[in-house]
Each structure stands twice: as C-alpha cells, then as structure tokens.
Symmetry: C2
C-alpha cells in the first residue's frame, strides 16, 4: 500500500483517503504539516473558523525500528500567535498512524451543530462517531473510558475542556504507553483548532497494518545502527546518562545555578528553593513512591527520559513531569513542592492545557493579584475555574498575553503572544534569539541554544555574551526543522551534534526509508526551506520584524543575580533569517 492522506471534512462529516501527492513524497512531520498549512490555509482566515485546517503528520522514519523516532507533528494557523504552528509529541499514536501508511490527517471545515465527534481509524477504514458522552469531562477519566471501549491496543488523540471553550492555551493530547493523557503537542492553541471543528478524539487501531515501507532496507539499517550507537554512547543520551537517570528535570539545578531559571513571573533568575523541584529530587521521590523511571514515551526509544510521577504510595499516576512543566507550574509561580506541581500538571493534562503556557499564565495572574505567589491551592482552584468554564476560566484558558491584558499586568513574558519557556533570555541569550525569531512564537525547542550555551554540546558559548548568538540560533533552527520532519526526537540532537557518525546515520536512515540520497551537507538547506515556508505564511498573515522581538521588560529590567538585560541587537535578530 502506498502512503496516503486522510482528509476529514467536518461540514460534511466525511473522511476520505487521498493519494499522497508526488510533491510531498520527501516530506513528513513538520515539513509536511507546514507545507500543507501553507498550501491550503488562507493566512488571514480566522484560526477558529471553517477555513483553518489542522494537520497531523508522523515523521518520515516514525513507525520504523529507527531509535527514538515516535514523534507526531500537529500543524495549523495558531489561534494563539496568529501565525503558522507546528507542535510535536512522542507517542504510540504517531507510530500506529505511520504503520497504517497514513502520512497525514487533514482536518477541515467546521461542524455546524453542537455535537462533538470521534474519528476512528483502523486498517479497514475510518468512521466518525458521536462523542458527546466523552465530552465536557476530564481526560484522565475519558482516556480510561475510551481504552475500555476501544481496547488496550489503540492510540488516542484528543482535546480537552479548555479546547471546548476555544481557549488558546489548549494543546492536542496523545496517550503515553500507560494510556494516560500526558503527551502533548501542547503549544499554540492547537487543541482549540481541533475543538472548533467539532472533533474531540482520534482513535487509531493499527491491527493488521502494513507497516512503513522502507525503500532501501540496507541503507536504513546501517543508518539506524550508527544513530543508535551515537545515542547510546553520548553522555547526555546514553543509558544511565543524564536524561535517562533524571529526565529533563536534570536541568533545574543547572539552569538555576546559571541564574537563568525564571522565578516569580520572570522577576529573578535564581532561588535556592528550586532544588526542591530538581530532577535529582524527583527521581528519588519516584523511586520511593513506586512510580516509573526511566520510561519511554513510545517504544523504540533508547534515551528513555520519561517517567510516571504519582501521588505518594504510587497512586494516581500523572505521567511525566517535564523540566518545562516543573519550572512553569513551580518556580515561576513561587511554588517549590513537587506534589503541588504534580497536581497542577495533572490538572493541565486533564483539561487539555499546555503546561508552559499555563504556568506563565498563573504567574501573570498572581502578579495581577488574582491569587498570591506561591499559593498552590489557589492555583489549583484557578484550574477548576477553567473546568467550570467561568469567566475567570475563560481568561486563563486564553493564555499569558490574554491574562496579562485582563489583569492589567505589563510584565508579560510572551513573543508572538506565546509564553516564554523555562530559560530567561537575560541570562542565556542565544535561546532568547530563538524565542524572538522562530516563526512559532517563544519556543525553546525551535533552536535549543541551551545545548551549546549551558551543556557544551555542539561546541561552547558564553550564555551571557550577546555576540554570535544569531548564528548559533540560526544553525540550530535549521537543524531542528529537519529533525522535526524526520520524526526523530529532538533529544537525538545532543548526540548527533557531537558525534559525526550519528548524524550520518540519521541521514542514512531517512535515505533508506525514502530511497533518496541526501547527505549531511543538505541539512541546512532543507531546514531553511521549511522555515522559509513558515515565514512566508507568517508574512502573509501580517508578521514583520517587529514581531521578532522580546517583550520590552526583558530589555529594560535587569535580572538578578547577574543583573543582565537582553542586549542582542535588533540587527542581529533580523540577521537570523
């Protein structure tokens, strides 16, 4: 069976397979979602109207035995940023879709009534089922119900209550291996796009699926092996290495030490209490409680940075508490207790919310006086306002910029209206260049300069020096766009940036699947072409250089303890692309 695309029209409640266009053959993941959005979505359409489209696409090698490659990209015009968006997640959903030879699901139109639907995809066909009985409810219970209904061997994508009220902080949720609603393509409000069309769930059953076609198995195998060797030998990614042992939370102490872990709505870069939130502390607790660590988000991962956080006694599993989530819902809100953070993360997963956006939102609400900084119980109550769809909940569900306006707060950490992640650009400047210039809105994953500035991966760079950061960010953004297209997890970059054979292996594995002949030297150009497509869309949607700027306060308010401001010149920002 050749690759195909599934087009789901919600006006007609019709789902039909289409041939995968020849032009798209070398595309997958982000390169496919961004291309389809650019080709099919009018840049000035209302992002929550019938003319926006939501695209799901597994990566090029996803569903194969290539290591750490279970990523799915989700793309649309973002209702949060107003520009093009790709967010991705690691989940079996990606692998099952790929094994069914479905290169993309294109969700279009808008159901005119008030019903919600579930799209069921099997090897035998597709079906839209009324999903009202699973709507308006928290996703932890709903995922249990759906697995009961459809069996344990399916994958489930969904949007939550926050998306039902079209909250632009809502993400697209995927299952983890335990069937928890914990893996998110979280950023940019893509959950609201899904809900706006009337679709609440996608259930994928790949029983009997043909599997991913590999055009040149020898080349593929050789490449996958070289990449696996790199991943299992690099200090950051190897078994027993930093990510495997402590997860992404290993960065809490490191970034706090560097004075770049934003505290109390970006008013300081360091706080001793941050240690209570560290990966080390968390790993210890998980062991004590009987959670799971290490753990993979999808089978075939050799890094296994994930975990299952639980309440004491191993009860009520949440799923992973990522570094970004722990920072956002913790230090940034002056909350320094992992149990509090775990419950806030549970609430985000349950309601279908981006943890980064919500942590930044709660901190801005705290600064606006809605609750006190450090008030974890108050923060949990705010999350319940979203569940109840109250006016307060509607404010919060629309994210950080929106909440700042509602509460009259001017220290609002957003770029293109998307909240800044867990690295303060006044202390770590290369990541600030990425926040400012990526077409995605503030996003660390778009060009993870932390790797070089803090971790010494792919070279070294002084985090507080503004010089040469445009070049660093540009190179990383090009490489990242390609990785996001392959379906490999971004964390494979740690190994391939330092180990040339790993990078070769990555390219060879893609060549093997597609039957093409890329070389390492093609990566930058490919990455550039993806980002060019995205920037072109954003320009047509009205973006200019003025949108490639950090908020004013980061340029004016010094950040303790180093008291730096973000001083990369505008010309450098404009030189990135």
């Amino acid at each position: 069976m050749p690759k195909r695309m599934l087009r789901v029209n919600m006006n007609k409640l019709e789902a039909k397979f289409e041939d995968f266009p020849q032009d798209y053959m070398a595309l997958g993941g982000r390169s496919l979602t961004s291309t389809i959005v650019a080709n099919e979505v009018p840049p000035l359409c209302h992002p929550l109207g019938p003319n926006n489209k939501l695209v799901f696409a597994p990566g090029i090698v996803t569903g194969t035995s290539a290591p750490t490659s279970g990523r799915i990209s989700v793309g649309a015009k973002s209702p949060l940023t107003g520009g093009i968006k790709e967010a991705n997640a690691g989940t079996t959903f990606a692998q099952r879709l790929a094994r069914l030879q479905i290169a993309a699901i294109i969700l279009e139109g808008k159901h005119e009534g008030s019903d919600y639907y579930l799209l069921k995809i099997t090897n035998d066909g597709v079906e839209l089922i009324n999903a009202n009985k699973w709507s308006g409810k928290g996703l932890y219970q709903v995922y249990k119900d759906l697995y009961k209904e459809f069996g344990a061997k399916v994958s489930v994508s969904s949007c939550g209550i926050a998306a039902e009220i079209l909250g632009t902080a809502s993400g697209v949720c995927f299952n983890d291996p335990e069937g928890l609603p914990s893996r998110y393509a979280g950023r940019g409000g893509l959950g609201a796009v899904m809900a706006s069309k009337g679709l609440k769930f996608v259930v994928v059953d790949d029983a009997g699926a043909p599997g991913v076609e590999i055009k040149n198995p020898e080349v593929f195998k050789k490449g996958a092996k070289k990449l696996t060797d790199a991943l299992t030998s690099h200090d950051v990614t190897k078994p027993g290495g930093a990510l495997n042992t402590y997860g992404t939370g290993v960065l809490v102490n490191i970034i706090n030490e560097a004075g770049g872990l934003p505290q109390r709505n970006f008013s300081s870069g360091q706080d001793d209490r941050s240690e209570n939130l560290s990966g080390e502390k968390k790993a210890e607790e998980i062991k004590k409680r009987g959670g799971v660590r290490p753990h993979f988000c999808s089978p075939g991962c050799v890094i296994q940075c994930s975990e299952v956080w639980t309440k004491p006694g191993g009860k009520d599993p949440v799923g992973v508490l990522e570094y970004e989530s722990v920072w956002a819902l913790g230090a940034n809100c002056s909350i320094y207790n992992l149990d509090d953070v775990g419950e806030l993360n549970r609430a985000c997963n349950d309601l279908g919310l981006d943890t980064i956006e919500m942590g930044a939102t709660i901190a801005v609400a705290m600064e606006g006086g809605l609750i006190e900084f450090g008030d974890a119980k108050g923060a949990l109550k705010l999350m319940e306002e979203i569940r109840k769809k109250t006016p307060t909940g509607r404010i919060l569900a629309n994210g950080t910029g929106f909440t700042g306006k509602a509460m009259g707060v001017t220290r609002v950490p957003v770029v293109k209206n998307q909240a800044l992640p867990a690295y303060d650009p006044r202390a770590i400047k290369g990541i600030g260049v990425t926040y400012a210039t990526t077409p995605m809105g503030a996003d660390h994953t778009a060009g993870y300069a932390i790797a070089t500035e803090i971790m010494g991966v792919g070279g070294t760079a002084d985090p507080r020096d503004p010089k040469l950061k445009a070049e660093l960010s540009r190179n990383l953004q090009f490489a990242t766009a390609v990785i996001d297209a392959t379906g490999y997890c971004l964390f494979t970059a740690f190994a391939v940036l330092d180990i040339p054979e790993g990078l070769e292996g990555m390219v060879e594995s893609v060549n093997g699947v597609l039957g093409i002949n890329l070389t390492v030297n093609d990566i930058a150009g490919l990455g550039k072409s993806i980002i060019d497509t995205e920037i072109k869309f954003n320009k047509a949607a009205g973006f200019t250089n003025a949108d490639d700027r950090l908020p004013e306060f980061l340029l004016k308010e010094p950040l303790p303890p180093h008291n730096g401001v973000f001083d990369v010149p505008d010309e450098d920002l404009d030189s990135v692309f």
Copy 2:
C-alpha cells in the same frame, strides 16, 4: 505669551512648561498629537508601560471665535490597536487650554505607587493633587464633586473605573457645558493609557488667560465669516437643518433604509424596530421630557447637533445620545428602546467607556451566550460587572476582539482590534475602505464616506458599488486629517465639501491664526503628511497590509436584506495609501 507645551512626568510627579518648538508652530490637534507620539514614543513599547505618552492638544483655531471649533485631540500608542491613535472630542476643555496658550499636554512616565492624581492647570501655574478620594467612583457623581471643589468655570478631563482596570475599551472623558461627563475622545483605549500613568483628572481654569494669539486678525475674521456663512446655509448644518433638529440620530432611519444599519452583531442590515431609536423619535421624546435640543458641546458652535437626554420628567440628565451610541447599544444588541439605550449610555459615561466599543462588545457577548440578544437589563448588569472589576468585567472592559476570544465567538467586527462603527461595509462599501485602511483601526470619522455614499455631500456614489471607493476614502481621509488638526468639528465638512467659499474661509481662518499662507490646494498634501507620519509609526509597530483588512466574515457572510458581501479588492485597499 507665546504658545507652550506642558510636560507632566508621573515618575517624578513633576509638571513643567516648555517652549513650543519652532517645528511644531503650524501644528495643532491631530497633527500635533501624532507628531509628538511619532517623535517621542518607541513604537514597540508596551502601551500601558512607562514609555508610552499621552498627548492632549487643542486644534489650531480652537479657543478663537471661529465657528464650531472646540475640539481637543488626544493621542498615544493605543493599547487596543497597538498602533498610533488620535481621538477627539468637542468640549470647553479644548477652548480653555487653548486660551491658556497651551498647545499640548504631554503626559509621560508612570507613577510607581498606587495613588491617583489630579492635574490642576490655571493661568498662575500647575499642580498635581492626590485624587484618591475621587477614584474608584462613577464619573457623574465625581464630576459633581469636582465642580463643587473647583467651581463652575473649569473644564474637567478624566478617565473612569474601566481605565483603572486598564480596560482597552476605556476613553478619555471631557465635560459638556452642563458639567456632565458626556464628551469623549472615546476610541482606542486612551483612558487606560491615562490611568496607567496614575493620572485620573485634569482640571483647567482659564480665568485671566491671555487667549489665543491671532497673527492676522483681518484674514482670520474674513475666513471665519465665510465659514459661518457656509455652515448656516448648508442643509445639513444650518439652523433648523438635519443635524440641528435631530442630531446625529437623523441617520438611524436613513441607514436602516439603506440596509446598512447593523443589527444583532452584524447579522442583518435592517430591522423595522430601528425606528424606535431614530433621531426623530428621540427629538420628540426630549421635547416631551424637558431635556435640551438643540444644544452645543462647546460655545461658538453654529451647528448645535447635541442634546441632553434625560429620564422621563427631565430627570437624571445623561448628555447626548449620538447616532453611533444608539446604534451600538441599541440595534446592534437587538435593544430597541431609547430609555434602555439611554441607561446603557449613562453607564458607559459613568464608567469611562467608549460607547461604540462597548455596544459591539455586548453584542459579541450576547452571541457568545453570556446574555440573550435584546436583554437590556442583562446588558446593564454586565456594565455593573465592570464597575465591580470582576473577571467578567475585565473581559468586557477590554473590548470586542477580546470578548470574542474569551467567549469563543468568531463573528467579531473589528479592524486592528477596534470595533466597527454603525455602518455595515457590506451595504456601504466606501466606509468599509476607511475602516480597513485608516491607521486608527475601524473608525468612521477617519474618512466619512457616508457623506457621499448616502447623503450626497461632496458628490454622489452608489454605496453598494465597490468601484472607485479607494479614491473616495483616500480623499476624505486626507481632508479629515487636516480638519482634525484645525480644531474644527468634522461636521463642518458637510458644508465645506459642497460650498467652495466655506472651504476657503476655513483655510483663511487658519492662516489668520498662524500668520501663514495656505491655500485650498495645500489641504491634500497636508493631510497626506499627517497620515504618512501615522503609517510610519504603525509600520515600526509591526503593521502591514494584512492589518488593512476587514474581518473574514464580512467577506463571506451575505448581509440581509441586500445580501451583499464586502468585495472591494485587496489591491484597491492597498492603493489607498
């Protein structure tokens, strides 16, 4: 005494006079506010932070005996649109400021504490007084208290409770001749800029003021006379003419008849019940109740389109109910009762809100299900939410676009995030070109194509024909920018567009005051230079052609009864400037 500028720094709580720069000598009103904002405000600053500035400037001939010239311009970077803003009002405040030879007040910085201040300006000097006791209260009572405190012969500018919560639907308020808080530079959230700095009130006492210097009294007198003759002979502006007899509300029946009076959140252009809101009906009621009609907003007006609307029995005067307000708070919300509209208008005045923005906001809230269409009592309760500063109030106080996002509504009538006024661009297309292209955000006064398309002033044009509307809008926008600089009321345009001697007189009166030699042929170039300054600011703030578009629904949803859509091509819109 030569003209001067008053610079008020709210960080230092310091108000100092400065020489009026030679470069600015020929500027006033909008040309002065826009020039100062362009020269002094960083385009990317936070509009509610310390780096924005709020500028008050009376027009060039304001304070003289020139007819119908009591306008004051207020300018800043708008927190509603993110672009440059000028809004103006007719009020004795303008005249007193001009007679004190104050060409501009420049309000800058931001008071760091939580106190509010009152700026008192007399011929003897200026003073900042703590104003906490007059804050957090409705403006009708506060204006009574202020007139008691400062005497009847002062003028008062203010911002209201909506501005205290930094609501971007808040306007800058001025007194009418009765001392009511009813004359607004309403649009663009300028009230929030004022409140953000810690200033709540400006009180101007012009006792002993030197008066406006007139460089060439002969030329001035001759010009003023010619303009007065035009105003008193044109059908629209003459005593006993349309505006004098019925006020701006004379348009209700006319625009409804044309199918362009938006009903029920822009879902129809006509409703028989609109007659209940007409200027004819209102004039009759005012007579019955013992209100005032005709009436001037400031002495020296020969048109006198204003009025004092009251409750039955002549009680509780509101001030004027303009056509725009009656439409916004009436027909657009399916409310067809003048008493209801009067109370909603009172609430807007009392809270410091733009009636156009609030009417559009309430209609969007109705569409989002917060209350039912037509529910006047419910609408009044919503206004009380703003007074109580509740989360619902904070949503509404931020205007139409914001409320649309909070409520998940996609039929949201805004351009540059500012609500569309009372003419549907699907039925009257030239005004749609103005909405789309003016640097101000959707604003009918920026280039009032209705004059030609509906009233046959300055020529005629078929309102439903998309052709040649770019040219019509451009010419009107240039002329309007100049009128907004002179201090003449925009309504003088009805006469001067049709009567060449009137236009000559207008130019001569300006020549007389300034001692210069402009001709009628200079007007377009002067207007262009003002708008160029504004567009340059907006470009630096990140605006592009994509911002010069009407919202998608106006291009897609036909408007009953004529079932047209807005079909002026994008190329025509882009050809305006």
